[in-house]
Amino acid sequence: MKRYLRLHRIFVVQYLKKLMEYKVDFLLGAIGLLITQAIQILFLGIIFSQIPSLIGYTFPQILFIYGFSLIPKSLDHLLTDNLWMVGYRIVRKGEFDKYLTRPINTLFHVVSENFCVDAFGEMLSCILLLGYSIPQLDMPFHWYTIPLALVAVVFATLIYTSLKIMTAAIAFWTKASGHIIHMLYMVNDFSKYPVTIYNKAVQTIITYVIPFAFTAYYPASYFLTGKNPLFCIGGTVIAGTVMFALAVFVWNRGLRAYESVGS
């Protein structure tokens, strides 16, 4: 474990060196993500200029849920962005061989090789949203709120990462799966809003099948109201654990199916 932490630090330092070389790239990526979020907020602002509440949620509450959804999303983006490359390029070009020859866990190696600082654009919008909405909300606060929030964030991020690992691992069989990861990313947009706006079918899917609702709405609604901790936080922990176990299983099965390009 200690060895892996040290290795991770070395990988990140290497990546940051590479980054210094391309400062503009990083800036453009971060600005792009920031603009994307800003426009979405403007959209919500226009809606709330006409109605006092959206099916019972006030503007600050919606912003809190939206902001909360960006925490696991940006953390996952920051730490595991290289999985996209597995789906798009690494397997198809046979570059995956490299990871198989190293004496460390392949999944760990793939994930820690890249450190996607573009995600700071999302983090900044997340901090702004939470910083703006929390003071306006009357949220229940206890000594355990902060530790629970940390637990929720860790497991919510794990849900994201696990789903990404699973979809990326499909490439071991099909050679490329970037478009499937893309599709998954479109589904995660459902988690930005309260699940109560969707119909039953969509609610069931994003709660029990692709549990994106546990990355944002359920934990966020617990922090807003203090109700249903068992389902909201416990569900996040369970969903994160189950998804991660599944992801590791799929990844390992995929490794067995992997064939190099042979050139």
Partner: protein, 275 residues
């Protein structure tokens, strides 16, 4: 007459290549399509919640029925006018393969255009008809009468074609720009977000402050999405339609001119190393 014939004979293989490419990568295409449609459905649910929470039947002049038509026809318009065929042009300049295009007896952007036309034909057959039919069936179910008007639909097609031409030349220009900004992911994200905002694809321009809306209406982006959608919905009067057609044609000409200008200066400064 024979010149037109020769023109089409020259570019027909590109269309076929585009179609074949689309069929070869059909899994990508279908996954991408499903992803995009889901984004439209999220908008649908958000607006449904807005109308449920509102006391009045309309939201800034739009009824729920209008909003549904707006969301899905905007999605369709965005999908049909999306253009990235010329995206590779920047890369080709860098690696020198653009030289191969220059020695062929055909115009470089026409090659891209006809190739994209091929893939567009496939997506028309797969999505255009079902989408329009779906929207109209929904409208019929909600209002109990057929709201589909063939006249507006035909005008929409004309406007859609003009919007595609603007989008095409705009993206050729962007392809040249991409050559300067190497981070394609970041710049493309910025471009697409700004275009979808400025064209009214995220928020209808009618909902924006009137001063801003007036400016955005004149900019080329409104011509990409908002104008055709408004025409489809029958929101524009005859004079407005004529005016917006004029504006669309104006922007096609401007974008075409800019493309030619950049192409000329790029060719003059181009030096391809070795081979």
């Amino acid at each position: 007459m024979s010149r037109i014939k020769r023109f089409f004979r020259t570019y027909k293989p590109f269309t076929r290549a585009g179609m074949q490419e689309m069929i070869a990568y059909r899994a990508n295409f279908i996954c991408h399509l499903i992803g995009e449609i889901m984004a439209a459905f999220i908008m649908y649910f958000v607006w449904k919640a807005v109308f449920l929470s509102s006391d009045s039947e309309t939201f800034m002049g739009f009824t729920m029925e209008d909003m549904v038509v707006y969301i899905f026809i905007t999605f369709l318009t965005g999908y049909m006018t999306y253009s990235d065929g010329a995206f590779a042009v920047g890369e080709e300049i860098i690696d020198g393969s653009i030289a191969m295009r220059m020695i062929k007896p055909c115009s470089f952007e026409m090659c891209f255009l006809f190739q994209e036309l091929g893939s567009r034909l496939i997506s028309i057959s797969m999505i255009f008809v079902p989408m329009v039919a779906g929207v109209e069936i929904y409208r019929y179910a909600v209002c109990g009468e057929v709201r589909f008007q063939i006249g507006y639909f035909l005008l929409y097609i004309v406007s859609l074609l003009l919007a595609y031409m603007i989008s095409f030349y705009f993206n050729v220009c962007y392809g040249f720009m991409a050559f300067f900004f190497k981070n394609l992911w970041g710049t493309t994200l910025i471009k697409e977000t700004l275009v979808s905002f400025l064209s009214g694809a995220i928020i209808p321009l009618a909902f924006m402050p009137s001063g801003l809306a007036a400016v955005l209406n004149i900019l080329p982006f409104a011509s990409l999405s908002y104008t055709p959608v408004m025409i489809y919905m029958g929101m524009y009067s005859t004079s407005q339609i004529l005016w917006s057609f004029g504006l669309q044609i104006f922007w096609v000409v401007v974008m075409y001119g800019v493309t030619k200008l950049i192409w000329r200066s790029a060719v003059r400064h181009l030096s391809v190393q070795g081979g």
